[in-house]
């Protein structure tokens, strides 16, 4: 079975020691990643679950002289087969049987959180519960007695405030104790509603002999009764047809079984929380209610969102802009100068390769790091305090018209920083068609680099009207995004529309550690791309622009530009300008660099301003900017699209589509502007 191999952890076994294997489970918004980060620190490895675009985080650490391997399971509300996250979580426990599962639950919504616990109790590994957010619960007027809850469930329950690092190590101690000694008693487990007990027994008796290893037979029977698509398929092929026919017959008579199973779980939850849970919220207006009166209001919510986003941009550019200049001058510039001095005695092509090819491509990417770090940090804060769910709610109405989803808003917005994390960020969207559409539209959000090109060229070409041109050309791709979404939604994805079901977490204080690690991981993902894909393509483009004669005017790239001259002519562009757009495939800033090289003036804004107006008319200048704003995203983004869609067909389709869009946009702009603006 492919799962068996795929889900085995990269277990670290050194010096023949036993490694305790622990899985960390929990619903979303329970502070699970805070707990994971506290336990593993930076000793964590982030990758993907095999064959899935779901993040897998694991870490190995020592505790009281024992080695612990901790896997962070995806946050899920339940363990159905409805999403890849849920499948991963349950398959991991079934196939790998961790020594213990640490379940983090949120005391402020105890009953709903115990639903996942009810599902986990049906699986083979013993569990230990970390009752998190005790402080938030008290603010909400909710008191949970951990000892009474533990006694009722027969499972250790450790109260915690993970955001203040309280109780987390007790939680781990309790987990290790269970890993060694097992649970002190048989835990209380939910039972199906009495009117379905018989049919569940019958299904288990029928299927029992055919349940494949390592599935627990009672769990399989329950899932078949629930109508679980994956397990039903599996058992249909495992059991003989006549047995399966009997099962199907039973299922037909009990079509409401899922409600009976869920009802049984909630009956168990009421039973175990009785006496352990006290609520008093008379006349008590909580912080979340007060903030949401504004943040989710149909009108004021939009105002709040606009102010928040303006603040994010303001902060990012006010702090990041000067830092970027500093990195460019003192780090990338210094490196380039150093390399040039060092390599001057060697062959000219080597110096060209290092200074223009490598530092020109990868170096400029590095200069965007400060801006990205600040942007990701502010977005991380908004995510962590719980505001992003409100933004998704407010934007759902508008996103919906584009065939997108409230949850598409956050990743698309990340795209203003960099398209790469935007495309990776679409993982929060459960429905595949919505996610695919969001991925394909994301490159139309102008990233920091594209905006930098726009700003420089708008000032050089239209010094009088630079601001107007910049604003219009920033809005243009966004309008195209809306238009394409509107049409694609109706033509391509019409049938499959995603459900919008989203928890609105309570607002809470940000945890700096979690935000810091989040920023770090997004930056590392960006740098990894810069160091591999961008490096490789930079070198190739440098080679194309140098060979065969060492001059860009006579290079292969120039030949390609001249070959495309007829296409460029429709946009009013000559071959140098076409080449500039083509080289922006490596990194958007190359558009400026290439113009500088081809017109022999270098990259400085003053020099470009002096020379460029001579080579552009108003119409061709606008056409150039339009084409540049709509053109294929940088190679790192294309690589991310390939990775996240898992399909070359979609990736190449997207490249063709955007190239065509840029060409059409440029041509229409040129032809219209030539008639009206001259």
């Amino acid at each position: 079975m492919h799962h068996q191999e795929a889900l085995r952890p990269s277990r670290v076994q050194e010096r023949g020691e036993k490694v305790i294997s622990i899985a960390l489970a929990g619903q979303p918004n329970v502070g699970k990643s805070t707990v994971f980060n506290l336990l593993t620190g930076l000793n964590q490895h982030v990758g993907n679950w095999p064959g899935k675009t779901v993040e897998r985080r694991e870490g190995v650490f020592e505790h009281h002289g024992e080695r612990v391997h901790l896997v962070d399971l995806p946050g899920t509300y339940c363990l159905t087969a409805a999403s890849p996250e849920e499948m991963i979580a349950r398959d991991y426990i079934i196939y790998h049987r961790p020594d213990v599962v640490m379940v983090v639950i949120n005391a402020a919504s105890l009953e709903r959180n115990l639903y996942l616990v009810a599902e986990l109790l049906a699986l083979p590994s013993p569990i230990v519960i970390g009752l998190n957010m005790m402080d938030v619960a008290e603010q909400e007027g909710i008191w949970v007695d951990a000892e009474k809850l533990a006694a009722a469930m027969g499972v250790p329950v450790i109260p915690m405030v993970a955001s203040k690092n309280q109780g987390v190590h007790d939680f781990l101690d309790a987990a290790l104790k269970v890993a060694h000694e097992g649970l002190p008693q048989e835990p209380s487990r939910p039972e199906i509603r009495p009117d379905h007990r018989e049919v569940l027994g019958a299904i288990e008796a029928l299927l029992g002999p055919w349940v494949p290893e390592p599935y627990p037979a009672d769990w399989v029977a329950l899932k078949v009764l629930e109508g679980d698509a994956e397990i039903t398929e599996r058992m249909k092929s495992a059991a003989p047809p006549e047995v399966w026919a009997c099962v199907e017959d039973l299922l037909r008579q009990h079509e409401d079984a899922l409600i009976a199973v869920a009802g049984g779980r909630y009956a168990w939850i009421r039973h175990v929380t009785q006496g352990a849970l006290t609520k008093s919220r008379l006349g008590h207006v909580t912080l979340t209610q007060r903030l949401d009166a504004w943040a989710t209001h149909p009108f004021w919510g939009l105002v709040v969102l606009a102010v928040v986003l303006a603040a994010v941009f303001g902060l990012t550019y006010a702090l990041g802009g000067p830092l970027q200049g500093w990195v460019e001058r003192y780090i990338v510039g210094a490196l380039a100068a150093g390399a040039a001095r060092l390599l001057a005695p060697g062959p000219a092509w080597l110096e060209g390769l290092v200074v223009d090819g490598i530092l020109g491509g990868v170096g400029t990417m590095f200069s965007f790091l400060p801006i990205l770090a600040i942007f990701f940090a502010t977005m991380g804060i908004l995510e962590d305090v719980g505001y992003m769910a409100r933004a998704a709610y407010i934007m759902d109405r508008f996103m919906h018209a584009l065939g997108l989803h409230g949850k598409s808003f956050m990743p698309l917005f990340l795209g203003f920083g960099c398209n790469v994390p935007a495309i990776i960020g679409t993982r929060i969207i459960e429905s595949r068609p919505s996610r695919l559409l969001t991925i394909l539209l994301a490159p139309l959000v102008p990233c920091t680099a594209r905006l930098a090109v726009l700003t420089v060229l708008a000032h050089a070409l239209f010094p009088q009207k630079a601001l107007l041109v910049t604003v219009c050309l920033t809005a243009l791709p966004l309008l195209v995004l809306a238009g394409v979404g509107f049409i694609a939604h109706r033509l391509l994805f019409r049938r499959d529309q995603a459900a919008f079901i989203m928890e609105m977490p309570l607002y809470h204080q940000p945890n700096w550690r979690t935000i810091g690690i989040g920023v770090w991981q997004r930056l590392v993902a960006f740098l990894r791309k810069a160091a591999t894909v961008i490096l490789a393509v930079s070198v190739v483009v440098w080679a194309l622009s140098t060979f065969p004669y060492g001059e860009i005017e006579t290079s292969l790239l120039a030949a390609l530009g001249r070959f495309l001259q007829p296409v460029g002519a429709l946009m009013g562009l000559e071959w140098r300008q076409v080449v500039a757009i083509l080289t922006s495939f490596v990194a958007k800033e190359n558009a400026v660099a290439t113009l500088g090289v081809l017109y022999g003036v270098g990259e400085s804004a003053e020099a470009l301003s002096a020379v460029l107006p001579g080579y552009f008319t108003v119409a061709s200048g606008l056409a150039f900017l339009v084409a540049e704003m709509l053109f294929i995203p940088c190679v790192a983004t294309v690589a991310a699209i390939r990775q996240e869609t898992g399909s070359w067909k979609w990736t190449l389709g997207e490249i063709l589509f955007l190239a065509l869009l840029a060409f059409l946009g440029g041509t229409v702009t040129y032809q219209v502007a030539r008639l009206w603006l001259t």
């Binding site: 159905t80 909630y266 769910a389 919906h400």
Partner: protein
């Protein structure tokens, strides 16, 4: 799964059962802000029902409408949590409103 504003596609048989009692039965999407009700039934496949059940929407559950701007998604409070639901989803939860 649909996520559009067409509301009622519930089977007529279910309709009959639901309206047989003397209490009226309405889609959750029709509750006004501040109004509470008891969930009676969920209409949809196991994917939809399973997800809603995990968030607390099961027959017998108490729900309170928090935000209902008339179009677009609503916010509903269930089991001490606020949940945003598309109008299409909220229309497929049948509730008996409190007097």
């Amino acid at each position: 799964m649909h996520h559009d504003d067409r509301t009622d596609e519930r089977p007529s048989a279910l309709n009959g059962i639901l309206s047989a009692g003397h209490h009226k039965v309405v889609p959750l999407a029709d509750l006004s802000p501040g109004q509470s009700g008891t969930v009676l039934a969920l209409e949809g496949g196991p994917g939809f029902v399973g997800r809603m059940a995990a968030l607390g929407f099961t027959p017998g559950a108490e729900v309170t409408m928090v935000r209902n701007p008339g179009r677009g998604p609503v916010i509903v409070s269930v089991l001490d949590t606020s949940v945003a639901l598309g109008r299409g989803q909220a229309s497929r939860v049948q509730v008996r409103p409190k007097e």
